[in-house]
Subunit: 130 residues, 6 copies
């Protein structure tokens, strides 16, 4: 990436602050050792800047609500890896496990029973009852 096309440092920093609120246990980790970071070293920086630094950082919706709707979308779309991470993040910003289970059960109505089932299996794993 040419220097002048890099995501803005300020937005990356703001994105990382939000990521640290969702996942305090991994804050400080540079992320450069993941397989994705090795093949696409700019990708995490792009996500920090565009997703977290720009959109999640906007004032019009509470962080708690952004987390809740993200869990809902990942369950509906069938993205178990990101769902696992965002269920942990949701708990870290104050959403209860019971509330999250309700979101996943209701997914059956909009995305079908198999999508809800898969999401609930991920939740069972994250919530220590698997």
């Amino acid at each position: 990436m040419p220097d002048d096309a890099r995501p803005d440092d300020e937005l990356v920093a703001r994105g990382r602050e939000i990521q640290a609120r969702l996942w305090p246990q991994v804050a400080g980790s540079s992320g450069t050792t993941s397989p994705v970071a090795r093949v696409a070293p700019d990708f995490h920086r792009y996500v920090a800047s565009s997703a977290f630094g720009t959109l999640w950082n906007r004032p019009g919706l509470a962080l708690r609500d952004r987390s809740l709707v993200t869990v809902a979308q990942l369950a509906a779309l069938g993205r178990p890896d990101e769902l696992r991470a965002h269920l942990r993040g949701a708990r870290n910003v104050g959403i209860s496990e019971d509330e999250l289970i309700e979101v996943l059960m209701q997914t059956a109505v909009y995305a079908g029973v198999p999508a809800a089932n898969e999401a609930l299996r991920v939740a069972a794993e994250v919530f220590g009852t698997a």
Copy 2:
């Protein structure tokens, strides 16, 4: 449908109460004149009972939050007709238009920019600025 396989009357009634909170302007409408009701006369009753009477009716998650995550899922899945209805419902249970726009913009991260664009076009229509 044999009588003993019909959705339980009590659950249908509870579902209709929730539907009336989301869409007070259509409460009292029997729904029997829609095209879907004509070919599948039991379908609306099924939805009232199973979706609204059973899941939305559960106490573990606020109605406002159920509405918010439903909007998020319909935007992610690309369901413009239901999204239109649920954007109206969300406003009726106290979610601001600004909050809803934030949910739809953030959809770009999880379901892609085209999904967010389509959802924002529906919102523009519902919010009277189209």
Copy 3:
């Protein structure tokens, strides 16, 4: 397409026989005047050969069952244009409107209520009650 890479004439002919059983009213139509045929003149021939001439033509599953599962898949995947055509085709090979409505209602379980709703709206249109 070079002559020696064209779909086999025999398979195209067999595919067209099956298409004529599903849609007798359009049999004989060359299909060359549709917008798709104008930009992609080989595409209908490809579909006749590979979809209908090769797979639908196989003996291991009844034509009626092939039609039924196609309707189910188009409803689940949200393909209203093809669903419209295949609902007509299904009726032409002896599946009743009531059976088709049951398939579409049950779609709510596996693909969600919005997918079922959209499919039932298409059915209402095709079955003359819209």
Copy 4:
């Protein structure tokens, strides 16, 4: 769930009868020990009532046909876990392995070759040839 919002006992019982025809080997199992049952103890009951007790229980479509279209939808939507279970169920209600393979091959036309491939891999596992 408040007592008066629970799925109707009669519908749950009817749903379990249908589940027992699809999966006689697991009938009698309470299901309460699965990871999903531990985090969402009401979810299996909800599915028994709304999916099996209400929709699958309706008289307008043969059980064999409901099973066949479910397999087709799960293959098209890419739900390997539920597909595995419903391939077994389909065999238990009298659909032959050859018929099921035809359904999965034909999925290539409507959902693409990768969806058909994944579904056939699941079938290979279930049919003891993997």
Copy 5:
């Protein structure tokens, strides 16, 4: 959006240069009069910065190839509105109509015949033969 969270001006400008190569006829248009711009005034700016200014602007893949793969993805995902715009863009960066038709026909293999059909209908419209 607080001033310090706005997408970087430099990235927005670079994104708009790329958009102007794809759609020279609309370059100079502020975009502020579209329905989406009215409900979500920051969204176009976000897309210019993150999608075009950051990713499309990277040197590792030719603009022509970025355009080609975008058309392919929009066809596979069933996004007719964006597909319409990107088919025009693809032609403007030197991809022939014949090449684009081949991409859309091949979509039948990976996303199914209905996805290819819908994409070819959009192409017929854009290429003036509809």
Copy 6:
């Protein structure tokens, strides 16, 4: 499959030539020992004929471009098994790993960040850095 409904031998042979260019290391393998080949012995032959022999074999688009758009579609649709194979194929027909990474990063715009993440994880595995 009755003899006269089998895919044309000439198209199967042409398809296998293209498959051998994408995957020279497996050329000559009959494919008959895979689980899919055991339950659906005609399926690989169908794919060779219809996908590779008929569509990929057409002259209007370079083999390199067909490979590139296939990678893009598999990433967008979330098909990790086929993506793994086609990333190898793409490298074999002269597309660089850097170009492929750019395609996968850009997928974040059209199919969302989770789809891009999953595709990049597959690439990390294929490109020997996982």
